[in-house]
Symmetry: C2
């Protein structure tokens, strides 16, 4: 049981060949005679040798590692994105280094630097707002290829859905179900350009359809104040009949919140979300939502990044969203 991992040279000595030959046994096996190759591979296996990526990275100047910088794994949306990206990366022989930011810009910068220090060859990341992200500025300055995921931007390559249009489609759906008085519930807007875009989409479509202007409620944390704001919204003279939450996690927690207020969804109030996370379909009643293909956002972002690394230009991509009707939206009688 070799406590300290053997190195390529030790294998070379053991077999009686040069280090170059051992290296070739792993990287260009076809260059060696069958005999030598087998002899080397056998001893390697026997001693438990595998070539060190840190050595090879240094010499070759390529780590074959990609960085992934996402807000949190607690949101299944980003978890799926990770899995999509990981799978695509693996297929191309790349490893993935994941770091989460917890929506904290200090952590975000530190993590980005750490990834840079590890000499990842490219990065996939989601920032609060690409228009004013210090991390993004630093990244751009560094010259490292990167692709945004979920963010939309006209200055950087990204992979996302069309948040405006998607939100608009949900408004359309709500209206088709008989709703006219809507409200948008979101987290803090400066933490997510997605939420802003979705709000824009809601307001725009509502205007176009001639609805009363939807109220917007921000529920940064689940504090008493937030709950109070929600309650006061619902007890206004003409309360909304449907709550559009800017993401599914928020929608679920709003529904739970409503339950504690004695309000039944969808009987007393309709609620819908955004993301189309798998879990929403399992809720009873199932959560109405706009599905965005998170796994594919991850894999596609990775794909674009790999293209960029291959010298090709990487395009921005808006993947199709899909409306998921659900039991949380009531069909209102026309009155």
């Amino acid at each position: 049981m070799p406590s300290s991992r053997p190195s390529l040279v030790q294998i070379a000595e053991r077999v009686g060949v040069s280090p170059a030959t051992v290296s070739r046994a792993f990287n260009r096996p076809e260059l060696l005679s069958d005999a030598t190759r087998e002899r080397i591979l056998a001893t390697a296996r026997q001693l438990g040798f595998r070539p060190s990526k840190v050595g090879s990275s240094l010499r070759s100047g390529s780590t074959r590692t990609l960085g992934l910088l996402l807000p949190t794994m607690s949101n299944p949306v980003f978890a799926a994105c990770f899995e999509g990206a990981e799978e695509r990366a693996l297929k191309a022989g790349y490893s993935v280094m994941l770091a989460t930011t917890g929506y904290d810009s200090r952590r975000e910068r530190a993590a980005a630097r750490s990834l840079l220090d590890h000499r990842v060859e490219g990065m996939i990341l989601t920032v609060a707002d690409p228009a004013c992200s210090a991390t993004l500025a630093e990244l751009t300055a560094s010259g490292l290829p990167f692709v945004l995921a979920y963010n939309e931007s006209d200055r950087h390559p990204f992979v996302s859905v069309d948040n405006r249009a998607a939100a608009g489609d949900m408004v359309e759906h709500l209206v088709a179900s008989g709703h006219r008085r809507l409200a948008m519930v979101s987290g803090p807007l400066d933490a997510s350009d997605r939420a802003s875009k979705r709000l824009d989409g809601v307001l725009e479509r509502a205007a176009r359809l001639g609805l009363p202007v939807p109220t917007h409620v921000s529920m940064p944390r689940h504090t008493a104040a937030d709950r109070a704001r929600l309650r006061s919204l619902l007890s206004s003279p003409r309360p909304p009949t449907a709550l559009f939450c800017s993401n599914d996690l928020l929608a679920a927690s709003v529904i739970a919140e409503l339950a504690t207020l004695g309000l039944r969804v969808p009987d007393d109030l309709s609620v819908c979300g955004f993301d189309g996370m798998a879990f929403g379909a399992l809720m009873v009643p199932s959560l109405a939502s706009v599905h965005q293909p998170s796994t594919e956002i991850g894999s596609q972002a990775c794909h674009e990044l790999l293209n960029a690394l291959g010298g090709e230009s990487s395009r921005s991509v808006r993947l199709p969203h899909r409306l998921c009707g659900g039991g949380t939206v009531a069909r209102l009688p026309v009155d």
Copy 2:
């Protein structure tokens, strides 16, 4: 805009000092005179230089990177575990390399090897069954320090909850709510020693409390056959009044399944899960479950691993579980 990252020597030349001095500016700043240090740091900042971890890893023989090998990020349990581990690792100045296996032992082995190749200094992993895991055998042979997460084993260090006891407690709770005819629903047992242990716990406690032997239904995939098995269980002469699912994700999908059969939870049937994932509390009605502290399992596992790296011995730890009552379990009248 420097397209190719400058190296330590280039900074050294630019500043007019030796490479050693530049290195010290970053690692042992207190050794340098204020003037030199500032001069170096300034040029470094200006040229966007940061010392390469691949260079330093090679020379120092330490990558300061930990490997994390988990089944999937789609299960919030593992996502939380990752976050716990990442945070703890970060605090100790370590980076984390995450790989998922998708419960596939081939991918598992390949991923473990990849992490080994990257020269991670230790590993945290969850395997199907530590008693017969090829990956674990290979890992042990390699001599790399590792800590199991969620698994329990008497041959390897691990961090988990006491699955047997935890499952037993849930049985206790069900009985206290008036249930006597129970059934256990799980995924394939050979994919998760946790599920086995939980089943053991259920059977044992049921026996001790003098209940009829709980039926066990395995629902590997959500195929028609699985659904049929569930239906036939429920239409047996004396059907169970409560379904204990071996994890929360499964519980949610079972509840959804029951809904399609026209069965209401908990009115027609009680259901509970295992994991205590945050989402369960948001379900309406909220999901009864046994909470295991996933984030802490991750951070604790990381902690133990760091201990091992520091030369101290790493103990196995069973963290406390906690019963989470929920609306999915009905309180039955005593008859």
